[in-house]
């Protein structure tokens, strides 16, 4: 068993870890860009854009990520849209992350006291100037810790890609175990430690950042 375990390690630490990191990073990019775009739409006064953003956020936060991922990977082909497993995982994770990111941005913008924009207006600044120089910089700082938490959630959730056949950490473990069932415990423990090693530092950093703001 020890030899088989050692034999399985390079695949897990190499390609498996790289896939998890790559999928998570790409999804985080979508979550950041989409989160800011949709979050800003929600605080604008245009009722149509506001409603569209609200529906997007509520729908994507209400559906389990697993169902969304299955739909993108297995449901869309029936509607004429073929997507490979890796892009499907990135798209599903990214769309889900963007909805959560939008809530982070909206929460941060709403947490800036109205007195701040009123003070800006009293100084004779225009709406755009107030947004760019007073509200956004303060709000931006408040999004940092929640976005770090979102990233740890994305890393955790990237394990769902195993269920559509993406060879990330968990799927690499599953494939190795098909040959040797005695590897379940050591390999799953290794996988857990890998996820922990990625997420725990980010989670600590996020907590520290949050404390430094209060």
């Amino acid at each position: 068993m020890t030899a088989a375990y050692v034999h399985a390690l390079p695949g897990l630490l190499g390609k498996g870890l790289a896939a998890t990191a790559g999928i998570s990073a790409a999804a985080m990019g979508i979550a950041l860009a989409g989160g800011f775009a949709i979050g800003l739409l929600r605080v604008f006064r245009n009722p149509f854009l506001n409603a569209a953003a609200l529906v997007y956020v509520e729908l994507l936060r209400g559906i389990p990520l697993l169902v969304l991922m299955f739909f993108v990977c297995f449901g869309l082909p029936q509607l004429g849209l073929q997507i490979e497993a890796v892009p499907a995982a990135v798209i599903a994770l990214g769309l889900w992350g963007a909805a959560n990111g939008a809530e982070i941005v909206r929460g941060a913008l709403n947490s800036i006291p109205a007195g701040q924009s009123e003070a800006g207006a009293a100084l004779g600044l225009g709406t755009l100037e107030i947004a760019a120089t007073i509200v956004l910089p303060q709000a931006l700082r408040r999004t940092v810790a929640p976005f770090m938490s979102l990233f740890t959630a994305i890393v955790e959730s990237s394990s769902l890609a195993a269920l559509i056949g993406v060879k990330e950490i968990l799927e690499t473990v599953r494939v190795d175990i098909e040959n040797d069932a005695s590897l379940w415990t050591p390999l799953l423990l290794t996988a857990l430690l890998l996820y922990f090693a990625i997420n725990y530092p980010i989670s600590l950093l996020s907590q520290r950042f949050e404390r430094s703001l209060s």
């Binding site: 697993l66 379940w184 423990l189």
Partner: protein, 236 residues
């Protein structure tokens, strides 16, 4: 712009010409309903378990004992920073190696309880710490024992403070129950996948599943808001 319009039209065309046949959902309705019941059972068991684990771990994390604090913190940090899907796999596939054979339903529910419980402990710890010092002192002045103080004075207030975040955790638990299908438990997602495997048609079932989860999550959120409003009448 023209390109985007063309793409949008193309997507609408695809939807219109796609062969969506919801009779497959109608045929599977009884099985899906049984699956929904399993989803509900796991959610309820998970809620009770996660609250118990969360409260115990949170109490240890604010206790004076250094080893207790260390163990509780390690538990919470480990479980909330690792994927619940891997916990489920571990409980189902790795436990038998050390002589513990759990049925899928039990293994999956246990794994979800540990993950959501770790998150609940973080929420409840913040809630316990937010109860003002004076409440501890006042309860002590009334002659209540340490346990009575905790159970009758501090915990009820901490629960009320934590309610919004605990509510989000409940909704997250409800959605995460779909993960149990990965080890073959027949919750509503598991049933849908079985039907898909037999009928080779999936979009209708995924859309129905999505609607089921969104509607239930909405109902849960509305119920939680009503509960919050009711409790806030008593002040904090």
């Amino acid at each position: 712009m023209a390109l985007r319009r063309r793409r949008a039209l193309h997507a609408i065309e695809l939807l219109a010409t796609a062969r969506l046949d919801f009779s497959i959902v109608r045929d599977a309705a009884p099985a899906l309903a049984r699956g929904a019941l399993v989803t509900l059972e796991i959610t309820l068991a998970g809620l009770a378990g996660a609250l118990a684990v969360g409260l115990t771990v949170a109490a240890l994390r604010v206790s004076r004992s250094v080893p207790a604090r260390g163990v509780a913190t390690a538990f919470a940090e480990f479980f909330r920073n690792t994927p619940p899907l891997v916990h489920i796999f571990f409980a189902y596939f790795a436990f038998p190696a050390i002589g513990i054979n759990l049925p899928g339903f039990v293994a999956a529910t246990l794994a979800l309880i540990l993950y959501q419980g770790a998150i609940a402990s973080e929420i409840l710890r913040a809630g316990l710490e937010a109860v003002p010092r004076g409440q501890h002192e006042a309860a002590g002045a009334l002659g209540l024992s340490e346990f009575e103080r905790f159970r009758d004075v501090i915990v009820p207030q901490a629960l009320r403070i934590s309610l919004p975040a605990l509510g989000n955790n409940l909704i997250s638990l409800f959605k995460n129950t779909s993960l149990v299908s990965a080890i073959g438990v027949l919750d509503i997602t598991g049933v849908a996948q079985d039907v898909i495997a037999q009928r080779l048609s999936s979009a209708e079932l995924y859309l129905t599943l999505g609607a089921f989860y969104v509607l239930c999550a909405f109902a849960l959120a509305a119920g939680l808001r009503a509960l919050e409003a009711r409790l806030s009448r008593y002040g904090t």
